[in-house]
């Protein structure tokens, strides 16, 4: 426990004309049950009050504190220093716009993504306040929740080779969200509607299937299964569509 930690942090404040991107080292005594949340706050309060980083729930629930920790994207609040070597390197998540130091703008990206895939139930039914709720099988509700557990932290995108090459790639997070709506009987969208959104290189066909995303997902979402499921589903649809197209022409 008597370790002195060296925490190397990426520093850059785009709003300060004198600031240049560089790494800066901070030294801090490790204490019992120390997490990166505790360590970074201590550095800010005791050593450099300008240090920018993001935490919100500090309990591994909200997805606010994604950063690259010794090379791997993860949630900083639930990362314990005792599981890391005494040299710790922290970088902001790539892919998202940098706000400053370790802080990136995930909110704007996720809002645009959700708008793009129309991440809501599409239904023609009106809500009737007098009526009993529509029934649902509990097991199905639990399956939907299983995919709903994503916290939009962005770790999967930070780890994704395709996302690094194509700025418009929707990422495993969006594909997982689509899978959630496909599963949900309340959503009346059909295969072709989904195909329009993800049946392209921005979506399922851009994915190289190397599964960096699933490896890093702090919520352990079954991303691999969803990618496989969608690729098959969209592949079949494309095939069917091709045939339909042929029939029409001949």
């Amino acid at each position: 426990m008597d370790r002195m930690l060296t925490i190397n942090i990426f520093r850059y404040n785009p709003q300060d004309p004198d600031s240049k991107p560089h790494m800066e080292s901070f030294y801090i005594d490790e204490t019992e049950s120390m997490t990166l949340f505790i360590a970074l706050n201590r550095i800010r309060e005791e050593q450099d009050p300008s240090l920018q980083f993001d935490f919100c729930c500090r309990a591994g629930i909200c997805g606010q504190c994604g950063m690259v920790i010794n090379g791997r994207p993860n949630l900083a609040c639930k990362t314990k220093t005792k599981d890391l070597p005494s040299q710790i390197t922290l970088l902001p998540l790539p892919f998202f716009k940098l706000i400053g130091d370790l802080s990136v703008d995930t909110g704007t990206w996720f809002r645009e993504m959700n708008t793009h895939i129309e991440s809501w139930i599409h239904t023609s039914k009106e809500f009737d306040p007098e009526a009993e709720e529509e029934r649902m099988d509990n097991e199905l509700a639990e399956q939907i929740y299983e995919l709903d557990r994503c916290v939009e932290c962005g770790c999967c995108l930070a780890a994704c080779g395709t996302a690094r090459m194509r700025e418009d790639f929707l990422g495993a997070v969006a594909l997982n969200r689509i899978a959630r709506f496909i599963l949900d009987p309340r959503d009346e969208r059909e295969e072709k509607d989904y195909f329009e959104i993800i049946g392209n290189d921005q979506g399922i066909f851009g994915c190289m299937g190397l599964l960096g995303c699933e490896d890093v997902c702090p919520k352990n979402l079954p991303l691999q299964d969803q990618l496989g499921f969608l690729r098959r589903k969209m592949g079949f649809f494309a095939l069917k569509d091709l045939k339909r197209g042929k029939k029409k022409t001949c």
């Binding site: 404040n13 785009p14 709003q15 300060d16 019992e32 049950s33 997490t35 800010r44 309060e45 450099d48 009050p49 300008s50 240090l51 920018q52 919100c56 729930c57 500090r58 309990a59 591994g60 629930i61 909200c62 997805g63 606010q64 639930k78 314990k80 706000i99 400053g100 703008d105 995930t106 909110g107 704007t108 996720f110 809002r111 959700n114 129309e118 991440s119 809501w120 139930i121 239904t123 039914k125 809500f127 306040p129 009526a131 009993e132 709720e133 529509e134 029934r135 649902m136 509990n138 509700a141 639990e142 939907i144 929740y145 709903d148 557990r149 916290v151 939009e152 949900d184 309340r186 959503d187």
Partner: protein, 611 residues
């Protein structure tokens, strides 16, 4: 040039309350912008695990439930401190809102027909769910309720509901400006016209002008050191409302402690643990709650369980630990793997990640910790704030006043959406009749003041350290305004806070303050936070009785004769204490004051006019 943005409705906050009101207004065709410190889906509503109350009565243990029973539980829970007209509207609307959420996509857990098991106080019992109810929204047990009434999605209820709500808001065209912090309110003493805000990406100031403004900024737990609240729960909306000098904050002394914060980080493990049959154990691993509360045991209301835990620790039954305060144990081992790894999955993760223990085989160290603020911007039953036209409040930031002096678990998340619907409709009515004239002189003056505050912080040469003063404030409240309160400690807390408040006039930054500088953000809101803390401490000092969470060791009786009232705090410019006034707790009694049926304690009746 400072960017100016106009809209019909400006919601300060994009949690459940803010977004629910926003959806109502957007649905009626109005332009709506929500401001938020973080991506809207990270608002603190997402952290709620346990669930939300509504008397649907679908599950077998909820059979016979009705809004009337929910009403009784809520009023008793509040220790008769709540507004009963509001409680009535709330319980009647809650079931409709849960169904509406189902319609929008919340994957509620549903009734599974046939034989099943549940635990109570460590014992296993059998139950039989009516197959005719299969597939309807089910419910779990929570403290202080006569029936199982808490609707839930695993233990990620807040997450599932906020994601659905945020998606719905996107669909309805509600704009969310995230990483924008409101730092002052623009008003002319009569009308609220919007806010001055600071962009937390660039540090630039911005003006938002609106026909109606809603405060939905959540709780202010971070005025305390040990709290379950997220780090953004700093009461930004409430404190800028207080700073207008004309808006009242209601019942700020009513602070709830939750029995099961984990040690040492105060992260919450849900009340669902006890609702699902978890028990509290002491250092000898003996179950002690039934000795204090034979009827309800672990499932008495939160204020009662928290007090009993501290009582038991004071008798020497706490477990020693290296972090100072003794703790107790929460035992959920008997609930079994299937239950813990699915229905209590977040709890499982929290135990593994933050404690390094496996709750299947190990006990969870817990102690009562700060959790919820019953107080907030005082509104009438339509959600309109006292003091300024065009200003509304909803959710935890408001004192609407559904919770009185203690809120029941599951009633707060439900409040955000129910109030959102009801108040949203009233905001729409207001907007339909509203024309706004924005007075440039008022706006310019406000903006100048804020710019001057920033310049002084950066260049003024102030000597006081932002973090040091914040810590002093937090410690003063922990020490003096905790679970048990008394004259001497409260008096000390008030004095310390007054000193801190005076010193905030001389704050200075150590860093350059450029861009999204976090030190500047805290420096701008700290004086307001200390003023809120003073409302809490001074209100508690003046309230010489015990009611709900407000437990005065020197005035142990609930005194309906003198104190069946709500505290209203306002702050005059230049003052060093709030001005306190009082109003009747409720305009009418559907349920006359009586015993709660748990928690014991003497009552001085309102009929007892002798001293």
């Amino acid at each position: 040039m400072v960017e100016t943005i106009y809209t019909d409705l400006l919601c300060l906050g994009a949690g459940l309350a803010g977004e629910r009101v926003a959806i109502e207004a957007a649905g009626a065709g109005f332009d709506v912008i929500c401001l938020s410190l973080v991506h809207s889906k990270r608002s603190h509503s997402s952290a709620a695990q346990g669930g939300m109350q509504a008397a649907l009565g679908n599950s077998v243990m909820g059979e016979g439930d009705s809004p009337d029973v929910h009403f009784l539980d809520t009023v008793k829970g509040s220790d008769w401190g709540c507004d009963q007209e509001v409680a009535r509207m709330f319980v009647d609307t809650a079931p409709i809102v849960m169904r509406e959420l189902a319609h929008w996509g919340v994957p509620w857990n549903r009734v599974v027909g046939g034989k099943g098991f549940y635990y109570k106080g460590g014992q296993k019992y059998e139950k039989f769910e009516d197959p005719a109810k299969e597939g309807l929204i089910t419910s779990r047990n929570f403290g202080g309720t006569a029936k199982w009434r808490t609707c839930y999605t695993s233990d990620g209820t807040g997450h599932a509901v906020l994601y659905t709500m945020d998606n719905r808001a996107t669909q309805m065209g509600v704009q969310v400006h995230d990483r924008v912090e409101a730092i002052s309110m623009i008003h002319d003493g009569e009308h609220c016209q919007g806010v001055v805000a600071r962009c937390l990406k660039t540090g630039k100031l911005r003006v938002y002008l609106a026909k109606a403004t809603l405060v939905a900024t959540g709780g202010y737990g971070r005025i305390y050191k040990n709290t379950t609240n997220a780090v953004i729960c700093e009461g930004g909306g409430q404190s800028i409302a207080l700073d207008t000098g004309v808006v009242s904050l209601g019942n700020m002394e009513a602070i709830q402690f939750h029995p099961t914060g984990i040690v040492p980080t105060d992260i919450l493990v849900t009340e669902g643990c006890r609702g699902d049959g978890g028990t509290l154990l002491d250092k000898n691993e003996d179950r002690f709650m039934p000795d204090y509360e034979p009827e309800k045991a672990e499932l008495a209301s939160r204020d009662v369980v928290s007090r009993r835990m501290i009582e038991h620790i004071r008798k020497g039954f706490g477990v020693k630990n290296p972090y100072g305060d003794d703790h107790l144990w929460l035992d959920i081992r008997h609930l079994g793997e299937a239950h813990i790894r699915t229905k209590l999955r977040e709890v499982d993760e929290i135990c593994q990640n933050f404690l390094g223990i496996d709750p299947l085989h190990q006990l969870i160290p817990v102690r009562p910790t700060h959790h919820y603020s019953m107080g907030g911007v005082r509104t009438n039953k339509h959600g309109a704030a006292y003091g300024l036209k065009g200003l509304f409040a909803a959710g935890e930031a408001a004192c609407w006043d559904l919770h009185g002096f203690n809120r029941l678990g599951g009633n707060s998340l439900a409040e955000t959406v129910v109030a959102g619907k009801i108040i949203g409709a009233k905001v729409v009515e207001y907007l339909q009749g509203a024309t706004a004239t924005f007075k440039t002189a008022v706006i310019d003056e406000r903006l100048k003041k804020d710019q001057a505050r920033i310049d002084t912080l950066i260049h003024g040469g102030g000597k006081e350290n932002v973090y040091e003063l914040r810590n002093m404030m937090q410690d003063a409240l922990m020490k003096g305004v905790g679970i048990f309160r008394n004259e001497k400690d409260l008096d000390q807390a008030v004095k310390t806070l007054q000193e801190v408040h005076a010193r905030t006039a001389n704050l200075g930054l150590k860093s350059n303050g450029l861009g999204a500088n976090p030190e500047l953000a805290l420096a701008l809101k700290l004086p307001g936070m200390v003023r809120m803390a003073l409302c809490v401490a001074y209100g508690a000092l003046e309230r010489r009785e015990s009611r709900g969470c407000h437990a005065r060791e020197d005035y142990p009786a609930r005194n309906d004769r003198d104190w069946l009232v709500r505290t209203l705090a306002t702050w005059e410019e230049g003052a060093d204490l709030p001005t306190l006034r009082y109003e009747p707790a409720t305009p009418s009694f559907e349920l006359p004051p009586g015993e709660r049926g748990y928690g014991g304690g003497k009552i001085i009746s309102a009929d007892d006019k002798e001293a």
